[in-house]
Symmetry: C2
């Protein structure tokens, strides 16, 4: 389909500018570019390592490069691109299209929006990567038709995002919904952001992995020990799920404790925003969707007022790695439509 | 002015229906009705004890009665009322105009909206009292022109509300922003809602009063002892402020500790919603505005990421007791305008 479009353009007839959208997910380790048609069907995809250590200039070049390759492969021209949406880690200045602080990329105040706009000559929406993922799930996945979707993605950190009444919630110029950094406990455990008692400090995969390494060391998780040893770096989501499946009860307890902490955070959020759908995503949840959704739901229910108990659902995300890029593209389309109407 | 309006109506000429709005604040101990003109200038006011113990029917009759008195006094007819906005305690079903649970009034699922609509023949908007107050401050007070105003009102409990992009944030059908019920600590201290570690359990006036009664009992607050003895019921906001002014350092420490907890909650909210204005209200703040705004602001600043540090202000509310009724009226007007446009 994309090829015939391109053929039309070469013939100079029936050129319909703005037929395609680029959705981009800039991750700490890999980047994903999707080409989407008018109905947001994915018609092309390209993936690459991010290589953040190579610096900002090289990073921007890699982003351009993968988009150019994607266009080439699908025989779509720049002129056919209606807009680009790019989800980036850390807080972003969405008004100016600037990545404020992406720790893993060592990016600080990078004007990725302007850069791509100049390069590709189309509108570019820059948003936080988790916001993009939650918007993706809201538009195309587990959160369709909700009044308010809260997304929580436990990983190395814990990301959060919220779509309220069709809009991604953000500050006057900065993104927000940093669910991982809300303090839920007076525990002294410290997160990567050097904050104690936060959800991230209590329930991220890193915290879980550290607890599990202790279990393995103490001989309380024999399957895990066989699968991963005592090295925290080996405690990947699938390994953890496998150890639980094979019968490591103590491993399951650690994961359930983390899920309960997320449940407490969800209860907080129900008392604040009363979201009708809570979507859980990320590798840990993908590996153990039932454990997480059940534990988070039951803990949240126990910790909210009666009148809120039946007002929300907890679901696992369904779009996997595509959520962010799809959401970024759809958001760019929505913002462009709003501006021109 | 109101009288001549009424005279015009009696003469049957120039009757302009919908010239006035009623704003109503239904509190646990007192109720306030305001009559506002088209520009939301207060042109009449009436106050009465709520007497919640007399039951739902009597409560509704008292609400009607005070509105009727207000109209009589100002010579305004029912036909001139464009709408009524009423702020009620506890969670409300804003779609159906039902007060779900007002503990102090012993109200449970009371359809106050329908009732007033039938009685006065005009649109009625039912909203949570704190939401109404925050909307009032957003429209006419300390939160004018903000993208996102978060209101926190520490009192016997701790109320919260949020206006985001001109809209009061609420759930699909229930109100929310129950800031007092978010868990910020693993402390075992329990709130009136029987939840532990919540902001309300840690920092409400009731918690402060209990700490102060201990101080007085232990002889560590001589001015407070003179002013209030050891009776928790005597630890009113003005008394507390007075004791601090006279030099009770330990009293000041207790209040500052509570303000710090509110600051932690504000930091949480900055990481979630990135509000540009945080408005603190209620009796405690009115009695000690500088202490609260300074302590809350500095604590919140210390507990947010660098990029959020300069993104918010903390201000004391300025409308006092009128905020709720004014906000309710303005919200009713906004909702009516949206519906008919």
């Amino acid at each position: 389909m994309a090829i015939s479009e391109s053929a039309e353009i070469e013939a100079g007839t029936n050129v319909r500018p703005g037929r395609y959208w680029i959705g981009f997910d800039l991750g700490g380790t890999k980047m994903l570019a999707l080409l989407l048609d008018e109905e947001f069907k994915v018609v092309g995809r390209r993936r690459k390592k991010t290589k953040g250590h190579e610096g900002v200039e090289e990073g921007l070049r890699r982003i351009e490069g993968i988009i150019e390759q994607l266009l080439e492969e699908t025989h779509v021209t720049k002129e056919q691109i209606a807009g680009i949406g790019i989800g980036c880690p850390g807080p972003v200045d969405w008004k100016k299209g600037i990545v404020k602080e992406a720790v893993n990329l060592k990016w600080h105040n990078v004007p990725v929006g302007d850069h791509l706009q100049k390069k590709f000559g189309c509108p570019v929406a820059v948003l936080n990567d988790v916001d993009a993922g939650v918007y993706g799930e809201y538009r195309f996945g587990a959160g369709i038709d909700a009044h308010c979707v809260l997304g929580i993605f436990p990983g190395t950190g814990i990301g959060g995002g919220c779509v309220y009444d069709g809009q991604i919630m953000h500050g006057k110029k900065l993104t927000c919904m940093e669910v991982g950094h809300i303090r839920i406990s007076s525990s002294g455990r410290v997160s990567g952001a050097e904050m104690s008692g936060t959800l991230e400090a209590e329930a991220s995969r890193l915290t879980i992995a550290a607890e599990l390494a202790k279990l393995a060391f103490r001989g309380e998780a024999k399957h895990l020990m066989k699968l991963a040893g005592t090295d925290l770096s080996n405690m990947r989501s699938k390994v953890i799920a496998e150890a639980i499946k094979e019968g490591d009860e103590e491993v399951e307890k650690v994961v359930r404790r983390a899920a309960k902490e997320i449940g407490i955070a969800v209860a907080n959020m129900v008392h604040l925003l009363c979201p009708d759908k809570i979507v859980l995503g990320g590798g840990l949840v993908e590996a153990m969707p039932n454990l997480f959704t059940e534990e988070v739901y039951s803990t949240a229910r126990r910790n909210v007022f009666d009148c809120y108990k039946d007002e929300f659902e907890v679901k696992a995300a369904v779009l996997g790695d595509d959520a962010g890029a799809m959401g970024a593209a759809a958001w760019a389309a929505m913002r462009t439509a709003t501006k021109t109407s």
